[in-house]
Symmetry: C2
Subunit: 407 residues, 2 copies
């Protein structure tokens, strides 16, 4: 038997040492990397089961919920989104979907593939979702079964008023599906107090884990809708009626093989979030955001998002006229090992996105970023006032209550 030979020239991968200040993944704390690198244990091991239970309890804390069904979906955030729609939406259901960036648009794709009839609300990319438009949509479609929106739009850096939006949905008896991929742990998010029914996040943003897992939580109202379905969900892997038996029972039913090492990393990041405390984490993101913001503005960058809707952990700025933004990103990567993010969709080439998420939200990252920009921008024809950016950042830090560094 003649086999196809292996490809020539492949070798072990040596990861470059980057500083991750794009829209995610963010820097991963060494504690999380070390936790993940422990020897693999079986997904049915009693020690692993105990860790899963702790993970669920810690997720309830970061989501601020008592929801029983709070667990990490064994796949990226996109699967968290799809899990919500494929379970809560049945063929023929009307869903109001708010679009103010890439991920609202993706929600429409998901709602339609689940058989839903979508009522679409548009807001400008960079603006938050308009509560008035949502109320009008419910008045026009009072039988809509769900409202879906993105809390923190990763493609723009806009934060929507989730509490108000959920309140409107509840007035009309509708469920809420909320994307918290970028918001979780970075800004206040109160699942129970706000009445969110289905929510998902991602491991690689403010939790500071590698990508690949999607923490999620479902209210008892959401589960009632799942249990009352007339037809099976389109998806076997994401079917909550099956997943329930795996994540929620005292006696676990085998569903799929859980991504053991990734879950150990997530658990460690949650232990760290509990050690720091949610309020301290929100304050830390805000603290470094203000320094980065003042530094970026001193360099001549203007924010896409108005101050009242601005996410501290995702800073989108307009590309100044004449600046080759791709060359800027490439040079920051090549010379400073610094990753920042480009715009997506209609904002491609028009904005830059600076992430300050999780372990990336720290002083040395802000300093590196501003220093690197100050060095590179003049070479690309964008004049800067030397030293101004770091002075602005220093002032911003000095004016605020200091926050503790991440342990």
């Amino acid at each position: 038997m003649q086999l196809i030979p292996p490809p020539a020239g492949t070798a072990s991968f040596t990861a470059p040492r980057r500083t991750l200040m794009g829209p995610g993944p963010s820097d991963v704390h060494p504690r999380v990397l070390a936790a993940m690198a422990q020897p693999t244990v079986g997904h049915l091991d009693p020690a692993f089961n105990a860790m899963m239970d702790e993970t669920k309890a810690l997720l309830r804390y970061v989501f601020q919920t008592q929801n029983d069904l709070t667990f990490p979906i064994s796949a990226p955030g996109s699967t968290g989104m799809e899990t919500c729609f494929v379970n809560l939406i049945e063929p023929g259901d009307t869903v109001i979907v708010c679009v103010n960036g890439v991920f609202g648009g993706r929600m429409i794709e998901n709602a339609e593939r689940a058989g839903g009839t979508v009522v679409r609300i548009d807001d400008a990319w960079g603006a938050p979702v308009s509560p008035d438009k949502v109320r009008d949509a419910f008045k026009a479609h009072p039988h809509a079964v769900a409202l879906a929106f993105v809390h923190a739009e990763t493609s723009t850096g806009a934060c929507s008023d989730a509490a108000t939006l959920c309140g409107i949905a509840r007035e009309f008896g509708a469920l809420t599906i909320v994307d918290a991929v970028t918001s979780l742990v970075g800004v206040p998010l109160l699942v129970d107090a706000w009445g969110i029914d289905a929510i998902y996040s991602g491991s690689q943003k403010c939790l500071g884990c590698p990508p690949g897992l999607s923490p999620a939580s479902f209210s008892s109202r959401a589960l009632d809708k799942v249990r009352a379905r007339k037809s099976k969900s389109n998806s076997w892997f994401m079917d909550l009626s099956l997943v329930l038996g795996y994540w929620n029972a005292a006696n676990r039913t085998y569903h799929h093989t859980a991504p053991t090492n990734g879950l150990v990393g997530l658990h460690e990041s949650l232990v760290m979030a509990a050690e720091e405390g949610l309020e301290a984490s929100w304050a830390r993101h805000q603290y470094h955001h203000q320094a980065l913001r003042d530094g970026l503005q001193a360099l001549g960058f203007a924010y896409l998002v108005a101050p009242e809707a601005r996410l501290p952990q995702l800073n989108s700025v307009h590309v100044p006229a004449g600046l080759d933004e791709a060359a800027l990103r490439r040079t920051l990567m090549d010379e400073f090992n610094l990753e920042i993010g480009a715009g997506l969709g209609p904002l491609a080439g028009k904005i830059l996105r600076f992430g300050l998420m999780g372990y990336s939200a720290r002083e040395e990252n802000v300093r590196l970023c501003l220093r690197a920009l100050e060095a590179v921008l003049p070479r690309l024809g964008h004049a800067v006032d030397k030293g101004a950016a770091l002075r602005a950042a220093e002032s911003a830090w000095a004016l605020q209550q200091p926050v503790a560094a991440v342990a």
Copy 2:
């Protein structure tokens, strides 16, 4: 604002040091763990893109295929299965599905949720899929668009004749969907030579990675079927027409955030597979299987699967009359940190499954397992001939051509 407090008593997880000889996950080589624990890089980083290209090339080697669309799906093996059905099966399509264990049954669930009409073929759990039954099914349903079967049934340890089954499907112009979760790298698997159209595996079996990724490959015939679909796939996350742009283009389109660290671990395991060579890996699995087999038989265990269909990497044996198999598994875990597998479904309580997959397929594991069984079985009322199991294993090794240990 009064927050819900974090749960009391949570702490960093210290993984127990297990030896994994169940049906997967298997032991993960220290090189793979170390690769995964490198600092996270962005999923659009040029260095990461180069590693992704190598991963695809290395997967083509282990699958023995030239298929362009050969890539790791960013989720567990169950998602690999669902990706095949949700793309290749359209509402109204007839699919012949072979069931000789748990995973064939799961294929039916997937085919039906994708809108397919299933023609079910049953074989005994522990037996391979019968080519005669498949031929008869095609004669009765000549317009079936696909044949789906499991190459290596993880729930029983039976290996089916994939080459013959694919040949029959091709005679009738049907596509083939093949589950290679447990077979890949452990036994011969020749995707192109056998004419397999859609195949998926799992990272946590003979590749020796942590669970969470599903290597997959699709022939051009399979992609023609995807491109000719009249309706969109039920799933956004698994839609190959979208995934294609992400994994296959020179200029990558953002689809989802790839699980970066997990993929670096998979890459390392593939580099190791290429270093060892497929034929050497198949020989190593066979070599240690024969030793374990002779040792188990010396202890009084009888195999579920006939010799000609037996997978070297998954050894299923009947539970001897009167033996408390749950107590045996618990004691092996508590006293020897050794994990072995229970039976699933109708075989629960009736069989035990001993995995010898990937890095677990090595001499010290065989020795530990036989020693531990010899120590524990008598205490559970099952008499053994002291020393016989290890002597039998030694003889089996001595009678074979020696194989190299894993580096």
